[in-house]
């Protein structure tokens, strides 16, 4: 059995009675691992019954305001909402119009959610703190991952021209570190330039695909090309390769790295999020999803 079959098998074993997946097989079903699992299976045209059940689990979690919280038992935060939009739309061929209302409500909620801007001195905070973007938690500042997820959702929903989507592109480019890469979303604090991380760099590059010029992100692509040589931690390798594939797919497609990383996963309790990210990083997996997204939806 090759690593792909192994991971698909793990995901099959980890699906829960709710139809969702948890952050580990023994943990309760949550929206984020369920979304990423659905995306990974959709990209491979695999386990369509599981995908539909997962998407319905997400719809069952959706609140009347359109948000999809992290856990069924909590009303907030709801940062996975943007990713849920992507999963519902990407599976349109499979699901038909079943999730149209969910998508519309989620996009409406996303457009109403804003990060909190504030005035600051560039000597204290290196980034433009007046840009709005999206926060992890309502009532706080904007950060890289939630802004990237929202941008992906708006693009998928045919709202790439919305002013908030355009501002998201500006925000992500503003938060790019001077030597390339992104971290969670601070560039400089008190004059010190902070360090890039591979995961957020992959997320940001994925969201920016087709939204900016190659030279604007060239240093970040180089950073990932260098860093991924040594990284086998599944979440960072997965997002890193997804981002790299969006701009400069490595000649070997990341195959040896993914193989090693998948082998590591077998030593731990089944981790559906990590397994899904490795599958999405395999070849053009994530790009395939984005290409499937119809131009207008919502």
């Amino acid at each position: 059995m090759n690593w792909r079959e192994n991971l698909l098998n793990q995901m099959k074993r980890a699906v829960q009675a709710t139809g969702g997946w948890g952050y580990a097989r023994s943990r309760t079903s949550s929206s984020a691992p369920t979304v990423v699992a659905c995306l990974a299976l959709t990209a491979r045209d695999s386990a369509s019954v599981d995908v539909l059940r997962g998407l319905r689990f997400l719809a069952s979690m959706q609140r009347s305001d359109g948000s999809v919280p992290i856990h069924p038992a909590l009303s907030s935060p709801a940062w996975p909402t943007g990713l849920a939009v992507l999963a519902w739309i990407a599976a349109k061929t499979l699901a038909g119009g079943e999730f149209g209302d969910s998508v519309r409500a989620a996009v409406s909620w996303l457009l109403a959610l804003e990060g909190v801007p504030f005035r600051s001195d560039r000597a204290v905070h290196g980034h433009d703190t007046t840009l709005v973007g999206w926060p992890w938690v309502k009532g706080t500042h904007s950060w890289v991952e939630p802004t990237a997820y929202a941008l992906l959702a708006l693009r998928a929903a045919g709202r790439a021209d919305h002013p908030r989507a355009r501002e998201a592109v500006r925000l992500l480019l503003d938060r790019q570190l001077p030597e390339g890469g992104w971290n969670y979303g601070n560039t400089k604090i008190l004059g010190n330039t902070l360090r890039p991380f591979p995961g957020p760099t992959g997320v940001a590059l994925c969201a920016l695909q087709g939204e900016t010029r190659q030279e604007e992100v060239a240093s970040s692509v180089k950073y990932l090309e260098r860093e991924l040589q040594r990284i086998r931690a599944p979440m960072s390798l997965g997002w890193g390769l997804i981002g790299l594939n969006a701009w400069a797919r490595p000649e070997h497609g990341g195959e040896p790295w993914l193989n090693e990383s998948a082998a590591r996963l077998e030593r731990w309790e089944i981790d559906p999020l990590a397994a899904s990210l490795l599958l999405l990083a395999d070849g053009p997996g994530f790009a395939t999803l984005l290409n499937r997204v119809p131009a207008t939806h919502g």
Binding site: P77, F118, R119, V137, H141, I189, A233
Partner: protein, 345 residues
């Protein structure tokens, strides 16, 4: 929070406290020229409170940490009867990793030494758990810090607190307006919570040690990366609420090599050569601040904790093991106004 109000708030790793916010009541009195008055205030607050703090000498990471920590536990009265059958959660500081920057994080040798000391005392289970504030990927942090290899070799399980199941617990502190804190199931289920921080300066809070280390039990899926909710609520206030609610049992501080300057991630290494252990965390942190040659009365979360969560005055802390004077090493602190109080005194 409406946008108008929000523009008056400076959040983040991006939080910049007011003069009064950082230095607290004791510090404000101190800056106002009233050191004696500040001490009298704290002395009144701490009436009847006493805590033991052990300092062990540990010049390098090649030391036998199981022996040093066992000696400290014995000195503090932590014996087999207390530990037997307990599920013990060790919470190191693994905020983020960078090549050549091992002094950001708690050294694996200290963590493994602590685990072995508790196992020797009959703990039913010892685990390491962390919810890093900057890096979301625990596996990468474990790889790059060397912690993963060390705890795997010692057969100590790791729990990623950022992605654990969560439980809502009433806020036992009341310093912030939060009615409840959402904590990882693993933290709630543990019998003993042990803070294993690094001895570091902090560019907003002044210092980061045993109490601030508990930002890392707050799950990222709920509070974000960074845990920006806690910055908006106030870093000192959040530290106090988390400690009041989590009710940690013990702290074991990695003071072998600390960090000075622009801590907690960009500072420079500082050789100190000690491990500090205690059952009362404000007392441990106040002792550590003194080891750093700094002033506990200039650290807001400590002056607020004084009397409510423990003692911070040296007259109320019984020093065990090595003398503080023999290990005291002056840490540099950034020269910015809100940190002047921690340098002074």
């Amino acid at each position: 929070m409406d946008k108008q109000a929000a523009t008056n708030v400076i959040p983040s790793d991006v939080w910049r406290p007011s003069r009064r916010e950082v230095i607290g009541a004791g510090g404000a009195l101190l800056l106002g020229g009233g050191l004696a008055a500040a001490l009298r205030y704290a002395s009144k607050q701490e009436r009847g409170l006493r805590a033991d703090v052990f300092i062990g000498k540990a010049p390098t990471y090649q030391c036998d940490f199981e022996r040093i920590i066992s000696e400290g536990l014995e000195t503090l009265g932590v014996n087999r009867d207390a530990v037997r059958g307990k599920r013990i959660l060790l919470k190191p500081n693994l905020v983020e990793t960078a090549l050549g920057m091992a002094h950001i994080n708690t050294n694996p040798a200290v963590v493994v030494g602590a685990a072995e000391a508790f196992r020797r005392l009959g703990a039913a289970e010892v685990l390491v758990a962390e919810g890093q504030g900057h890096r979301r990927d625990s596996r990468l942090v474990l790889d790059e810090s060397g912690m993963g290899e060390a705890i795997e070799r010692a057969k100590i399980p790791f729990v990623d607190l950022n992605h654990d199941d969560v439980v809502s617990v009433p806020n036992a502190g009341g310093w912030t307006k939060l009615p409840s804190l959402i904590l990882p199931r693993t933290v709630v289920d543990a019998d003993w919570i042990v803070s294993l921080p690094k001895l570091k300066t902090h560019h907003w809070a002044g210092v980061t040690c045993a109490m601030k280390n508990f930002f890392g039990v707050m799950p990222g899926i709920v509070y974000g990366w960074p845990k920006n909710v806690l910055h908006y609520l106030g870093i000192p206030e959040s530290i106090l609420d988390i400690n009041a609610t989590v009710k940690p049992t013990l702290a074991i501080v990695d003071g072998v090599v600390g960090m000075e300057g622009d801590g907690p991630i960009m500072g420079t290494p500082k050789d100190v050569g000690c491990v500090v252990i205690g059952r009362n965390l404000p007392a441990v942190d106040a002792t550590c601040v003194r080891v750093m040659g700094l002033n506990p009365m200039g650290v807001k979360y400590l002056t607020e904790a004084s009397g409510r969560l423990g003692p911070i005055l040296s007259e109320n802390i019984f020093q065990r093991g090595e003398s503080l004077d023999s290990l005291q090493t002056a840490f540099t602190v950034l020269d910015i106004p809100h940190l002047h109080a921690v340098r002074g005194g």
